[in-house]
Symmetry: C2
Subunit: 368 residues, 2 copies
Amino acid sequence: MRRPTISDVARQAGVSKGAVSYALNGRPGVSESTRARILAIAEELGWRPSSAARALNGARAHTVGLALCRPARTLGMEPFFMELISGIEGELAARSYALTLQVVADHGQEIAVYRRWWGEGRIDGAILIDLHVGDPRVPELESLGLPAVVIGHPSESGTLLPVWSDDGGAVRETVEYLIALGHRRIARVAGLPRLVHTALRDRAFAEACDGAAEHVTVHTDYTGEAGARATRRLLSSPARPTAIVYDNDIMAVAGLSAAQDLRLDVPRDLSIVAWDDSPLSRVVRPPLTALSRDIPAYGGHAARRLLALIAGDSPGPFEDEAARLTLRGSTAPPARRGPGTPRPAAATGGPRRGPGKPPPGGTGGSRR
Amino acid sequence: MRRPTISDVARQAGVSKGAVSYALNGRPGVSESTRARILAIAEELGWRPSSAARALNGARAHTVGLALCRPARTLGMEPFFMELISGIEGELAARSYALTLQVVADHGQEIAVYRRWWGEGRIDGAILIDLHVGDPRVPELESLGLPAVVIGHPSESGTLLPVWSDDGGAVRETVEYLIALGHRRIARVAGLPRLVHTALRDRAFAEACDGAAEHVTVHTDYTGEAGARATRRLLSSPARPTAIVYDNDIMAVAGLSAAQDLRLDVPRDLSIVAWDDSPLSRVVRPPLTALSRDIPAYGGHAARRLLALIAGDSPGPFEDEAARLTLRGSTAPPARRGPGTPRPAAATGGPRRGPGKPPPGGTGGSRR
DNA sequence: TGCGCTTGCTGAACCGGATAAGTATCGTGA
DNA sequence: TCACGATACTTATCCGGTTCAGCAAGCGCA
């Protein structure tokens, strides 16, 4: 029941190991008739080259490594990761490359994983995601000499190959759209401030609003709960925003619910924009205006560049398409202040209410 | 700049390759002092064992394979997969096992992938998910002799090791709860009918309802859109259900929106239960009553059993905890028919309306 | 003192392929 | 008819570990 080796094939065919190797790899050195015979026997025996034996001769491992540094629950809730992985995978599979995955707790562990994989010859390259400001992984991978693509902005990718999309442009487009609708107080519920793309969005958001609208940015950990909390705080402030831009879709949905709890109508009293479109944005009411991009394609680009790097090419930095604003029902011109104004009591607190049970009555006025 | 090999360490230490191998693997055959010296030198040179060379000597590949057979978008939207993978990963990482992932289009491709991985010695075992009725992968993996754990019911897992949870029991608990609340017409929006767990839930649902409540099951492809469509159809039927159980959370959220579009109040006019809890269920209004389970732990159990299998043990089938009903705001006793009844016109069609814009006016009555 | 046993190490074979170097066979042109 | 070169292989070596047989030194014991 042992797996057949090249020697088994050679014995069956009555030739030497070397001849079999030539035949199976399509190299010159055997006649066409012998080659056909060897191929047939290999097929019949169900022979497969041992990846270990191949790798031992300096060949590539034909594997790419990806370490993810986020807790299980967050990962699960972010369609981004699965779509990205799926896109990476599609490209790798087409070239018979495998993807090896590991979920780690922090950057220290992540570096240790890459060090081990590379040291053991398990991977030919790596993909770095969630780039931080001053990310320790960058100099580490540089010194290891491990071919790597960074999904993140070139300003922080060092000598590693960056693949990124223009978050600043997408922010500007969004802000301009909201301002054109008439919004003059815009808030942003952002993700982790240490992530490079958060910082870039922060800056672009401030610049785009400057002079045209009041603006404020609140940072969170990307969870729905944090998004809801930030939303409640924003909406209960004296100068509450008429539009909020969220850094992911789960927070946008949570924000939508929080606003509706406060008896605000979306989009009449509050416009909402989500970053990274997903089926979720289409499924809630109203469906969310969102910044969409083709995430699997994004991953595919990264994978393709990494394979080029591994092959010895020197592909240049790659800027993918920026996210495009997909208009849906959650954005509209702001209503003049009137019946839609929340009752301060409901907005600012008192004892925590049970889920989805605002006090009866109230001044909420007609809802559409 | 070449990676140091065992020979480099041996030369530095002034001993033979064999001695180094004994020292580094903690086997007897070298004195403690020599061992310490060799270890120090290996550490200093940054030596790592080549996984290829190890594997060549019949050692394990220290890798587990997982092929996912779903389109990118669906995968992204299902927190289940990422949480499962994360749980599997956690267990594997603790034993220094790697997880190799591939996204495939169909079972044929999936089988080919396992065949290749196993033939090439890339993996020591596999995890099968999304078990189908009469799944072709089961006999295939059996004949390959590849150690495998099936995440799915023992009735269809052949001689492969099953890890499952009692979906039937969870369905019964849910139905009993709904009946106790007073529901007498219960619908279920189910997933793909060819999946084993769908079939089991179907049967358990029918049995639990039988005699106590009218029941109907509609099958979908798990997407939010299909969930919304099924919900609209159910709610516009003459004998509309007062409670709907959904097979995943994205469909439940979509169903919630669809019901609200029809001017139904959840939970007054319709109770909703989601399968597989996720942050999403907590974030919408009202928050959804859901069947929760610890999915990372589920994956962890599967991984642990697979490692035992690989190690040569014969662990028995493992039944994980059944999902538990987590009560939230989306379930309540059904209201007697009254103001909440949908206007047939809005329910049954006419031209498709824009997103979230039901016609103004109407008989919808007061909303909370 | 001599025997056998343990300890601590060396040398070599081996895993399954890739590949460089060597060799036998054949056809061809001078 | 012989030299030459191409063709079609074989042989041997290598990759980086593991492992087994062998061996010398040291020790206890009769």
